[in-house]
């Protein structure tokens, strides 16, 4: 017995020792206001202080103190010549506070959406684009030359000048550097013969791209999410110490490890907040950039909020519970699920927050099902899937109201699959008409009409087993892949409901449940062996991300309904299948080329409408059940200037980054 007691004692002592020598905290984030505050007034022997220029009050108190103590140059020296004035949503803010934010994984994708600063950005209301780091841009040479004029005098967060040395570093030392694979030439940065575009830097603030074909869309491509543009803005003065060309002791692995602006403390950035501390996999701490180049309409330097602290929480249920406790000032994608709205609303009062109205998903189909036009394993099935009558029959067989009731608890609009209703292609009255027509195309629930269409497609029961067979007489089973793309909890009941609709009409259906995120489902896409594939469709600008309308790419690389014909186009005819003349794929590819050569935005909108007409007449190529659900965006009641409109489904517009998070403020 004594030995057991001894064992227990050892255990207890071990635990106590471990508690005592627990992890020593990685440097506590500096709180600059405290040391500065205690030191400044404690020096009465310096009467010269009265002569020194008054510190500008158009900056955060924590910076005023740093300026007063001489640790930071005055505001006027820190702001660029071409300062960007950001309109405020509701009021001029107060400085201070910490924005506690949530993210799902260490890549910090959700936070990057709030932080990033692109060349050119989406307007907060999604009606078009506006200048960012680039103050204006122009085309020459029929769209073959793009000239980008950067703002003059912007500084990195450590005070170093941002100029074309940095862009040159990106292009010459990283993107075109064969030895460094992490940063590559962007996909749009090639001539038609696959040689890289030419990049020129005539002066410190101008960058010129030259191709051998028109690139009217490229400025807008630069505005796409954080992933297109953020690779270009590299602090060369900082990164050169890790670059083998400049430091013979360094290796490219060192460079790759250091070149992560979202988790490298002290990495000079151009954002409102820069990374200052990190606990990998748990938490990242951001601190205001004293050299931020944006001001509010009264000339106060932004951002208003001092710090951003991001918690990384992998489990969704835990995130929702934490959100419901009001632990996070502003959250856009922590829940990311309209089904959480009732619970979050119920807890709002206790948690001291509200759900921001007007934030939508922007889904044109949630859920939707991509119909494979290039089904590889069987020609008979492929012909059926390519038959417009069959597809229209499927669409009319779907009871969308019921799917919305079963899967969504009543949230959303029944509709055919489209891109985002809020897309700028549909902003004009004419555009609205096109959108309405697309949204309602074959979207009625009409089993009789569906049967009529099936019969037109020669899709009938030939062997008398009560199930419809292929026109050749072979039995047929329609397989619906559930991929998790539209969320398992939505896709599964939706597919099940659709299956019931179809079985009533004698269609044999098998939903195939892929565990979401497993490679199996991507493999079926890659090899084009799926029939119907669950999806979530949304896009605000189709030219920068064309796949929902135009077949341009192969399976597994962004293709939607035409994996093989897209592959053909992508590989320049080397692989895949050539579209038959006058087929939808051929017509859509031709329209895409026409759009790429069209210099005006309005002209391109018209081409989108033309392409949509093909989808209406010969489609649907993607079946849609419901769309445009609202999203739960959580804002604490003491937080201001978060707009009452936004779109979170498509990532391309970079929401919430386009709504200027630097002007959000927290009541102190």
């Amino acid at each position: 017995m004594r030995k057991i007691a001894f064992l227990l004692n050892v255990l207890v002592i071990l635990v106590l020792v471990l508690v005592a020598c627990g992890p020593t905290p990685t440097e506590a984030p500096a709180e600059p206001e405290e040391p500065a505050a205690t030191e400044a007034p404690a020096e009465p022997e310096e009467p010269a202080a009265t002569e020194a220029p008054a510190v500008s009050e158009h900056q955060a108190p924590m910076l005023q103190e740093l300026v007063a103590s001489g640790d930071l140059p005055p505001l006027a020296e820190r702001l660029p010549k071409d300062v960007l004035t950001v309109p405020v949503v509701e009021s001029i803010g107060q400085y201070g506070g910490t924005w506690h934010a949530l993210d799902e994984d260490t890549g910090l994708g959700r936070m990057k959406m709030a932080l990033y600063e692109p060349h050119i950005r989406w307007k907060p209301d999604y009606t078009g684009y506006e200048p960012g780091l680039v103050k204006d841009w122009e085309f020459e040479d029929d769209g073959n030359t793009l000239i980008l004029h950067f703002r003059e005098g912007i500084k990195w967060s450590d005070g170093d000048d941002f100029n074309m040395d940095d862009m040159k570093f990106w292009w010459e030392d990283l993107a075109t550097n064969e030895d460094y694979k992490v940063v590559q030439i962007p996909w749009w940065g090639f001539n038609t013969d696959n040689t890289p575009m030419t990049v020129e830097f005539p002066d410190d603030y101008t960058m010129i791209f030259k191709w051998d074909s028109p690139h009217w869309v490229t400025p807008f491509t630069l505005a796409q999410g954080f992933w297109e543009g953020m690779d270009h803005f590299k602090p060369s003065h900082y990164l050169k110490q890790f670059h083998p060309t400049y430091n013979s002791d360094a290796s490219y692995d060192d460079l790759e490890l250091a070149d992560k602006y979202w988790e490298t403390p002290g990495y000079p950035c151009l954002f409102a907040w820069c990374c200052s501390d990190v606990t990998p996999g748990e938490r990242v701490f951001f601190e205001r950039n004293p050299y931020y180049w944006k001001v509010d309409p009264e000339g106060n330097q932004l951002p208003y909020i001092d710090y951003v602290e991001v918690d990384i929480v992998g489990d969704r249920e835990t995130r929702i519970l934490q959100l419901s406790q009001g632990k996070y000032e502003i959250d856009f994608r922590g829940s990311n699920n309209p089904l959480d709205i009732p619970f979050l609303t119920e807890q709002a009062e206790a948690g001291g927050y509200h759900l921001q109205p007007g934030w939508m998903n922007g889904a044109g189909a949630w859920p939707g099902w991509i119909i494979n036009q290039d089904y590889v394993p069987d020609e008979g099935i492929r012909d059926l899937l390519r038959d417009t009558n069959f597809r229209k029959g499927l669409s009319h067989a779907m009871d969308r109201e019921r799917i919305i009731d079963v899967a969504w608890g009543g949230i959303g609009t029944p509709q055919q699959a489209t891109i985002s209703p809020q897309s700028w292609h549909f902003a004009s009255p004419e555009g609205q008409e096109v959108f309405k027509a697309w949204q309602q195309a074959d979207a009625t629930y009409d089993p009789d009409l569906a049967v009529e269409y099936f019969e037109k497609a020669n899709f009938t029961d030939q062997d008398g087993d009560g199930l419809r067979d292929l026109p050749s007489g072979e039995p047929f089973q329609l397989v619906i892949d559930m991929t998790g793309w539209a969320r398992d909890e939505i896709e599964t009941p939706a597919a099940e409901t659709f299956r019931e609709n179809l079985i009533e009409l004698g269609v044999d259906v098998a939903p195939l449940n892929m565990v979401s995120g497993t490679p199996d489902s991507s493999l079926r896409e890659k090899e084009s062996t799926f029939m119907l594939r669950g999806c979530h469709a949304s896009e605000v600008d189709i030219w920068t991300y064309p796949d929902w309308i135009f077949p341009l790419r192969g399976g597994g690389e962004g293709s939607r309904s035409w994996p093989m014909q897209g592959k053909w186009r992508q590989t320049g005819g080397a692989e895949g299948w050539e579209p038959e003349p006058d087929s939808p794929a051929a017509k859509l590819q031709a329209l895409y080329d026409k759009g790429m050569a069209e210099p005006t935005v309005e002209g391109r909108h018209k081409i989108v409408w033309e392409a949509i007409q093909i989808h209406i007449d010969e489609g649907p190529f993607t079946l849609g059940a419901a769309g445009d659900q609202p999203m739960p965006v959580i804002v604490k009641n003491n937080v201001h200037n978060v707009p009452e409109f936004g779109i979170l489904g498509p990532w391309a517009p970079g929401s919430p980054g386009n709504t200027n998070p630097s002007q959000y403020w927290i009541e102190q």
Binding site: L11, G22, A28, Q184, P186, G558
Partner: protein, 328 residues
Amino acid sequence: MITYLMRRLGYAAIMLVVVSFVSFLIIDLPPGDYMDQKLAELSQRGDRSAETRIEEYRAKYGLDKPLLQRYWMWASNFVKGDFGESFQFERPVKDILGERLQMTILLAMFALAVMWIVAIPLGVYSAVNQYSLGDQIMTTIAFIGMGMPNFLLALLVLFFAVVVLDADITGLFSREFRDAPWSLAKAWDLLKHMWIPSLIAAVTGSAGLIRIMRANLLDTLGMPFVEAARARGLKNRTVIWKHAVRIAINPLVVILGSEHIPGIINRNMLLAYILNLPTIGPVFIGALLVQDSYMAGTCLVFLIMLTLIGNLLADIGLAWLDPRIRLE
């Protein structure tokens, strides 16, 4: 004794190689790899530039090489202390696990201590007072504890704590203490957070131990030597604790070695995932889900190592506790 130890360690090394290879193989079995998933995720988000990079990543992590070559690459570096790089974190596996190791051991030890301190006296009580009201209550609770998976209990407790108590319970520290240096207040804060995982681990973990302790002690109490001890006029207390429990505890020592020591890594994995604890468990789950092979493989190898060491320790411990057992 020395030869015995050498032999056991030799077997352990062979075992380690075989099991690590098999687990590497199993992780690799599903079609596709991590980069397929990464590409799918990025393209759903609308990232067109990702495609150009994905093949480069594949080459960088050696995913374009055959399985045997990859295993050899990883295993030979493993011996040198380089566990490879995690695909998801894009950092060395060693760094990620290293940062989490201390909290993992701390939490596991704490839960273990709670479990044992609860289980042994209750098990003894149950056996000695068989079929009493106390025993019945304990049995009921123990069966619920055994039947309920700890992650489910964690979700229930979480919901209760958040919605009813409005307590701050996820993670191990409150915000204000996360970066603070160690102090009494911080230790108190840690205890305030640790009661949930410990309670859950104790309820679900002690249950089995209580039952085993009870059953074994009941067996032992009926044995002639106990009777003989009683006949010699020894105090009841002494008979139970000194004579009976000492024999009956052997299976618990085996469990300690073979289950609880390797359990440091995986025992409360789901629980830690749900409570967002900074331990190895959640990383391990994440790695298995997305085929982050080197990360998952490394966790598995450590798990196996701990199992082998635990078994060895259990055997040595048993020999020490019970003079009838000899190591041969």
